[in-house]
Amino acid sequence: MTCEEYLQDPDANTVHLESCANCRALEEELGLPVDVQHRPLRVDALPLASWEGASHRTWPLVGAGLVAALTLAIVLSAYAGISPMTVVSSSMPSLDALLTFLQLTGRAIGAPLVAVLFVAINTILFLLLRRAPKGVDV
């Protein structure tokens, strides 16, 4: 509830005084008797917020997941005859190949078309990035 809503109907919204120091000070300044009526609040009836329990860290689950993934990687790599570290180190594409691919593709498309597409797509990206996130603030 906002202060404006309270000021429009102070008698009906006395619960606002509990949380707002400014309005409480205003009431005390006016010398009016303050009668705060507590409204029953059922916490369980409120929807679950995403931050509730979020900081809990389940280490057994993390450990189990790591062990499962590690075991799977080792077993499959052993069957395939390669080491997991070799797989990981060789999984990145070659920089030379990527650079050649980019240059050849750029040459195939042609510089004018690349320039037009570059401006068009980045303009759209700029417009999309201006939109504020809509997720609930938690």
Binding site: L102, I109, P133
Partner: protein, 294 residues
């Protein structure tokens, strides 16, 4: 208006642009450069020496003579016969190569690691090893900035279409910007620009994928009520949601074809949500100038 028309149109435009970049159909036939040749969905036989490079996007190529430059093959089939040889590098993705052994003067590069994997078991081993890397990265990032990951996870669930469109446009932008920077490579400045773009794109993908892991974990195993949450010992908290998301998406990734599609879709969502929330900080990317009121 914005949701009904602009977003779908933007998605279609981004898809078309991405297709145009990856598969330049406008470059059919002879190249713009006299020495280069591009072929799109054509059945070609090369029986004369080619002084420049050859690019094949789909279709088949029967190579009977020498290519002095590089050979780039995306989704095509190449057969080396007779004097067929590539003096430069052979770069391929999703391609079938026959008789290429000993006929490439430079190096043979698969664009993706899975393309280079010989058999299905090797591919599965690669996926499983990378899954372990993803799991470790996800745990470390969630421990360091769990709140940001959670904010991005909420965003991808509440605003999925926007994240998808933004991801598509951003990926297209990355590719186009990389191509534009590759023109600058001869002027030295292109290399640091490309490196910076690559690092940014990689960080965006890693952060975004972890947010998607969290979102998937929450959708599948998240508590629906406070009572349910209090009863749980293991399936609660950001870390548990991320781990479940990694394991679930990783298991789906092991399915041939479908897994690749799902992982690619998750990547698009991930890049989109990373940029939409500015890596979970929920700050505007661009500040608007507004004159101060006197």
């Amino acid at each position: 208006m914005f949701r009904r028309i602009v977003i779908p149109l933007t998605a279609i435009a981004a898809l078309l642009a991405l297709f145009a970049v990856v598969s330049p159909t406008g470059a059919r036939g002879d190249s713009r450069s006299t020495s280069d040749k591009h072929y799109v969905d054509e059945n070609v036989t090369i029986d004369q020496p080619v002084m420049g490079t050859v690019q094949l996007y789909g279709g088949t190529l029967m190579l009977r003579d020498v290519i002095a430059g590089d050979l780039l093959v995306i989704g095509g089939k190449v057969t080396f016969t007779g004097r067929g040889r590539v003096e430069g590098n052979l770069i391929h993705a999703g391609a079938t190569l026959t008789g290429a052994d000993g006929r490439v003067g430079g190096r043979t590069y698969p664009l993706a690691s899975l393309e280079g994997a010989a058999g299905a078991l090797t591919k599965t081993a690669i996926i499983a090893s990378l899954l372990l890397v993803w799991l470790i990265a996800a745990i470390v990032v969630t421990l360091m900035s769990g709140r940001e990951i959670r904010l991005s996870s909420v965003e991808v669930r509440t605003s999925a279409l926007h994240c998808f469109v933004l991801g598509l446009v951003a990926l297209t932008s990355f590719v186009l910007t990389a191509i534009a920077f590759s023109y600058l490579v001869p002027y030295v400045i292109g290399i640091p620009l490309l490196a910076a773009l690559g690092v940014f794109a990689l960080l965006t993908k890693i952060y975004g994928m972890i947010a998607v892991f969290h979102a998937i974990g929450t959708l599948v195993a998240g508590a629906r009520s406070r009572g349910q949450l209090e009863q749980r010992k293991w399936l609660r908290g950001d870390l548990a949601m991320v781990v479940i998301g990694v394991l679930l998406l990783g298991a789906l990734r092991l399915i041939p074809v479908v897994g690749t599609i799902l992982w690619s879709l998750a990547s698009i969502f991930g890049v989109g949500v990373a940029l939409a929330t500015k890596f979970g900080r929920r700050e505007p990317w661009f500040l608007e100038f507004r004159a101060a009121n006197a």
